[in-house]
């Protein structure tokens, strides 16, 4: 048996490396294999170099790199199936989350936000990138890869801007505009000019492109680029000024309580009003009272739904019921002339309908109720101090 030297081992290893075998495991396996062959078959006196070249020559058809390539191919193929499985599973999950979330939203059930959030995150950060990776792995041409990359980007942007819109997060308009922009000026042209060059995909490409342009156009028309912020400003400041007006009226109120019983009832209503308002504000603006520097800080009140506190047995529903009870108590002990008009105010709403009201309509309704309290006729009038 031939005894192989350390120098020869180093030589073989560096030769394997030089010939394009990069995986370390594979290098070591081949090294041991070659050493075994040399030890078993090399006769004393025979030349190591020539024998080595002859041996290695039997390992491949073109070059040694084949082994490395074949290994990588088999390894990626295995990942390929795992990735496909993950993509399909998460795709099904996100679709289910979407459908459930939408249904919950229509029914005003809690958990809507979490479900839709999950669905959108899965689609835009798991399903779409995996789809792109798989397509790239399938070895399409460079142009097709570009179209797929742009399509994925558009899809991810679309999902994220939908999320921002549903959650009423700031920056949603800018996101929508970039989605429409990328789709209209990058993805659709790339898709169109790639597909139209091939006779077999020509008619399909034209049809799909028209549909895509139509869909993007519809989206664009729904954004309302300018009006949204102005609208939100007017809505916010109408409420802010109503609130200032109320404070002024309360300060200037000169009427004296007709009886101390009424003063207590009015104070109870005002307290309940402030509690509901601060919870609504916290949900819509993140602070529990209007900040003094609201104009310079550019904060806007989000006119979205009241939030999870006002669903089922939430904190908001309890506060709201408090208010209702206080108003009922007051109305019961006052003559028709002095009763608070609640017929179409938020006080008259049934608790299960609460999630359907928007923050600002509730805030304004409550503030108006408080204004009535300041402006009561002489015999019921109360000054709130």
């Amino acid at each position: 048996m031939y005894c192989i030297t350390d120098e020869q081992i180093d030589f073989i290893l560096s030769d394997i490396r030089r010939n394009g075998v990069e995986t370390e495991d594979l290098q070591l396996n081949l090294l041991d294999h070659i050493c075994c062959i040399v030890e078993q078959n090399l006769e004393e006196g025979e030349d190591f170099g020539t024998f080595y070249q002859q041996t290695v020559r039997q390992f491949y058809k073109r070059d040694l790199k084949e082994i490395e390539e074949e290994t990588q191919l088999l390894l990626t193929f295995k990942n390929y199936y795992a990735m496909k499985k993950i993509m399909i599973t998460s795709g099904i999950f996100s679709a289910a989350a979407f459908i459930l979330g939408s249904f919950f939203k229509v029914m005003h059930w809690p958990g809507t936000a979490a479900l839709i959030f999950l669905g959108i995150l899965l689609v835009s950060f798991v399903v779409l990138p995996l789809m792109l990776l798989l397509k790239v792995k399938e070895g399409q041409s460079g142009r097709d890869k570009l179209v797929f990359a742009l399509g994925t980007l558009t899809g991810m942007l679309y999902c994220t801007s939908t999320l921002f819109a549903i959650m009423h997060w700031p920056g949603r308009t800018a996101l929508w505009i970039s989605t429409v922009g990328v789709s209209m000026f990058a993805f659709i042209p790339a898709y169109f000019f790639t597909g139209i060059r091939r006779p077999e995909t020509k008619s399909n490409t034209i049809l799909t492109s028209i549909l895509l342009v139509g869909a993007t156009g519809l989206l664009f028309s729904m954004i309302g680029i300018r009006s949204q912020d102005h609208q939100a400003q007017i809505k916010t400041y109408t409420y802010v000024q109503n609130e200032q007006l109320l404070k002024t009226m309360q300060r200037k109120a000169t009427t004296i309580p007709a009886n101390s019983q009424n003063a207590k009832l009015v104070a109870a209503i005002n307290k309940a009003c402030e509690q509901v308002k601060s919870l609504v504000l916290e949900n819509a603006m993140g602070v529990s009272s209007i900040p003094a520097d609201i104009e310079s800080s550019h904060l806007l009140i989000d006119d979205g739904p009241l939030g999870d506190d006002f669903i089922n047995a939430g904190k908001g529903v309890a506060l709201f019921n408090n208010l209702k009870a206080a108003v009922d108590k007051y109305n019961a002990s006052n003559s028709d002339n002095n009763k608070l008009p609640v017929a179409h105010s938020i006080v008259n709403a049934s608790p299960d309908k609460l999630p359907q009201y928007s923050s600002l309509s509730v805030l304004n309704s409550i503030t108006q109720l408080q204004m009535y309290l300041v402006n009561l006729p002489e015999d019921a009038g109360v000054a709130i101090k």
Binding site: D6, I9, D10, T23, D25, L26, L28, N29, L30, L31, D32, H33, C35, C36, I37, Q58, F59, Y60, K61, E66, I67, E70, T71, L73, L74, L75, F77, K78
Partner: protein
């Protein structure tokens, strides 16, 4: 007669799994030699096919490995994992079924009679 590489390619995984099922642990060179010995040189596994297959099986979790240092070089021993053991049974019964089908398809039995 040495079988063509196309014929061997589809059965290589099965051969490797079966050998490892019969022998507790083996290294690459040992596998090629054993196959040669058992088939009386009719099947010669090439290095270019064996090692990619071994690495793929390892990545799939069918094989476990242990290494042994022999002087300056490292020898990697392969043995079956529990998943590999059940895969071996599947592979062998699949191949047996395949052989039956081929015999029927190519009309081999009648010719021999």
């Amino acid at each position: 007669m040495i079988y063509s590489s196309e014929l061997i390619k589809g059965t290589l995984k099965t051969i490797v799994l079966k050998l490892l099922a019969d022998n507790k642990k083996m290294y690459g060179y040992e596998i090629t030699q054993r196959v040669k010995e058992l088939t009386m040189d009719k099947i010669q596994i090439t290095e270019g096919a064996l090692y990619p297959t071994l690495h793929a099986l390892e990545a799939e979790g069918m094989l476990t490995t242990e290494t042994e240092y022999i002087g300056k070089r490292v020898r990697k021993y392969y043995s079956l994992s529990p998943a590999g053991k059940s895969r071996t049974k599947e592979k062998i019964s699949e191949f047996a079924d395949f052989v039956d089908t081929m015999i029927f398809l190519l009309d081999l039995k009648t010719k021999n009679i």
